[in-house]
Symmetry: C2
Subunit: 346 residues, 2 copies
């Protein structure tokens, strides 16, 4: 167990831009929902009960050599909590006030274990690129270890029991974050994604449920947690994602000689490099174009990792953290443009 | 008299961006219309008559030590004629086919004398910045010298006679080309220019009569040639232009802390530096913003002279001349973007 309440202003390993098919798949994520028998679900639990769950999980994790930092959300100022949301390490709900809300995070920020979110335990493993199986391996191993220490709510008939019925069974949500600029340029993204949703998969924007797609980024995840094995769920998502990768690659090839797209990409780069102020949404869209431009060989003087980092660094809490104080929207837009230009000039 | 039919691909002196108030007044121009007694006006003259006029003017100019290059328009390929139009050295009408159409141009491309345009002689002097008086001095001296050699059509009652009644009297058209981006940003240009037109002055776009304003550039000239002395006409234009300069300067000061304008200027610069293709109209508008940005201290790494040159070099004939062959519109837009980026990187 490392230092408590460490200020998480560094960048997570999963945003490195490495990993298989990383020019299209930004990250892979496995999330397991688990609950302790004998305790009511967090949203109806009293303070005492939540504290007990928190203690039990903390004891279980401390006895394992997982090198996780323990953070009590209530100890963190709002800005620090927002930082964790922007890094996808805790959910927006978990960043709100509430007793017994904890999170355990490893040094690389690949693993996060939320306690007393919707379920008692929400274990998440994030990996860069297309690495669902690897993420599953890690998550599964931590899950096994916890199961030896804790008495999970489990039904022979239903499997793992969860606060919301949509998670019952495996408690597994596998998801990939894909970047599909070429499919959007060719107006094929909507069609493809609607086909994907008919295969029992859910499509969401960058920041999860209800969030709109910005920067041509989509989260694709399994809808159904019940009645399939974990491996079935992961294999289904793997194979659908492979097909999406193929379609996006074909679309990129088709754009190779498209002068208008080339122009659009280069203008996006010009605006990123020179704008005096920029919103995070516009910046995400322009960064998306530049990422595509790098992959298509149109832009050669930017490291794609810098763009991956910028996608997180330009979020409001990160901008404010970097500048050491709260900023209003106009100040943020100006500081965001400045930050982007500094990073692009490295 | 210099080398005949020299390829005018170099840049004119007047576009240098020097001269008084050159951050607002791009150039000053004096044009005198003259006709030879005993000859009918060019548009109704037969070939023979036009040739005789051409010979007479050529003889008169050759005997003077004015160091002018003599060009027969019919000897020039279309592209070269277009180049002269883009440099404001001949009118669009003069670039069309026709017998006896000549032009005499000095090395600096400050002086141009069209023969057999609408009138037998159209003498023009162009100077950078606010230099109407200087331009008038030069034009007047050449006019005096020509008058000693040639018998001008002149009436005691009306003054100099011209093909179109709007030029009768002094035959003088004095004009300034002004760059008014701040007045446009503050939506005050239309109001000011409508006030100016009520003072008996004409407002036009960059390429003269009927042309729309692009790049926030306006030509302001006297409407009336009759009933005023040359000095009255020039002094009136001088004083109105002074007022326009004041208004534009005030507007620029007012924009100093305008974040949106600063952002717009910087984005314009970014697009100029990175676009893959660009039309001449868009380029002119972006260059206009960058010129303003330099004057406001927002952009520091561009020489304003480069922008002045670009305003001419990006015109279609110049782009094609530079590339040594005819280009279609798409090719031109691509080569234009390339040219701009090369020049801005110097």
């Amino acid at each position: 167990m490392g230092e408590e309440n460490k200020a998480y202003s560094s960048l997570s390993h999963w945003i490195s831009g490495d990993g298989p098919d990383s020019e299209i798949v930004m990250s892979s994520r496995i999330r397991l929902a688990r609950n302790l028998k004998d305790f009511v679900y967090p949203n109806i639990a009293d303070t005492e009960s939540r504290k007990k769950v928190s203690e039990a999980v903390k004891d279980a994790l401390t006895s394992e050599d997982l090198c996780l930092h323990y953070i009590q959300m209530s100890d963190l100022p709002e800005l620090e909590r927002e930082l964790l949301v922007e890094k996808h390490l805790v959910s927006p709900i978990h960043a709100e006030n509430g007793t017994g809300k904890d999170v355990f995070i490893d040094d690389k920020e690949s693993i996060s274990i939320m306690v007393n979110e919707e379920d008692h335990i929400r274990l998440q493993v994030l990996k860069p690129g297309m690495q669902l199986n690897k993420a599953w391996e890690i998550a599964s191993e931590i899950d096994d270890r916890l199961e030896q220490k804790l008495d999970f709510a489990f039904s022979e008939r239903w499997g793992y029991l969860t606060a919301c019925p949509t998670n019952v069974g495996t408690g597994l949500r596998a998801s990939v974050m894909v970047h599909l600029p070429a499919l959007n340029f060719t107006n094929n993204a909507a069609k493809l994604l609607s086909a994907v949703s008919r295969l029992g998969l859910a499509i969401r924007g960058l920041y999860g449920e209800g969030s709109e797609s910005i920067g041509n980024i989509y989260q694709i995840s399994n809808q159904v947690t019940l009645g399939h094995t974990e491996m079935d769920i992961i294999e289904n998502l793997n194979s659908v994602t492979s097909e999406i990768i193929n379609q996006e690659k074909k679309a990129r090839e088709g754009l190779m000689n498209d002068i208008k797209v080339k122009d659009r990409i280069r203008r996006s780069y010009g605006v990123l490099r020179y704008a005096y102020q920029i919103s995070s949404e516009e910046a995400m869209n322009l960064i998306s174009h530049v990422r595509l431009g790098i992959d298509m060989g149109i832009i050669n003087d930017v490291d794609p990792r810098v763009l991956g980092e910028l996608m997180i660094l330009i979020r409001p809490a990160h901008i404010q953290k970097i500048h050491g104080r709260e900023l209003d929207i106009v100040e943020r837009d100006i500081k965001r443009a400045e930050l982007i230009q500094n990073r692009l000039s490295i």
